[in-house]
Symmetry: none
Subunit: 162 residues, 2 copies
Amino acid sequence: MEKKNRIERQMAIKAIILSEKIGNQDDLIRLLKKEGFELTQATLSRDLKTLKVAKAYDPEAGYIYVVPEAGKNVGTESEAGVNYLADGFRDIQFSGNLAVVKTRPGYASSIAVLIDSASPYEIIGSVAGDDTILLIMREGIKRTDLINSLILIMPKLAGKIK
Amino acid sequence: MEKKNRIERQMAIKAIILSEKIGNQDDLIRLLKKEGFELTQATLSRDLKTLKVAKAYDPEAGYIYVVPEAGKNVGTESEAGVNYLADGFRDIQFSGNLAVVKTRPGYASSIAVLIDSASPYEIIGSVAGDDTILLIMREGIKRTDLINSLILIMPKLAGKIK
DNA sequence: ATAAATAATGAATATTTTTGCATCAAAAAT
DNA sequence: ATTTTTGATGCAAAAATATTCATTATTTAT
């Protein structure tokens, strides 16, 4: 079950690079070894050139390898359901005691109204723009608590929030 | 004719990279010297990281530096729009992890859209009124980082901030 | 204004990546 | 069947890039 030839190896390289953030060739070699590929860094360097792999900036991990035409939009658009508002939900992020909810354009206000009307204990207030809702969290509330309270309001979010 | 400060230098770097195919830092340093910038490779390396410049494959020249594109800005039209919008910028102030941008009346929303569309890592969301934009900074981001990312989006701001 | 904190930078160094060269193996040519 | 060609590879050296450390400049606070 040993994969030895160059083509297979390069496929594996591409797959790894696509699935995780690799910052240098030594790290990549280590992962390749785990998959049964034996090679030196010199060879890897040539493989990367062959694959035209670029090194681009990633805010989380610094510079990482990326394959050229890797499409970015993996977004699976959910089917229209009863609770259509939850469909407008895109993303939630936190900073300090603030939660920033990103929505599809135009949805922010109506989702915010929905949240406000439920007035969950975890949230002391909100401000909505067109596609962004700012939620001010009550002190001492954990982020997971807030997320759970949102899911309580919009069950459909369960699948959309990590 | 001395251009000395960091921002100007980084603008020049960006301009050079956009106009010709640069394959390594020493070449770039040489071109910068011709324009009156004095710097070492160490500084250039840091500049490139700040600018989030990537190194990608070009069929003609092999690996060259490329500036990351925020969205689809191509050509003079969007560029002119950006510059026009930057004129609406008045002031930025910070409080905790929030940045408050003051604009000329009516400008806030469109400037916020511009910022959002670039979706800089430093900002996790924004809310815009008529002449005020609230930017929520990602945790751990320094104020200068945020300012730099705004300048990256609207180069004209370089002169107006700080 | 002075002190303290923060940021920028160069020199030297460390790390990472590329490449020249030799070798080996497989395919093609004779 | 032997020779030649081609391509893949490792090793070691070179080249390119990033980072550490110390210093200086700049900003911010007092």
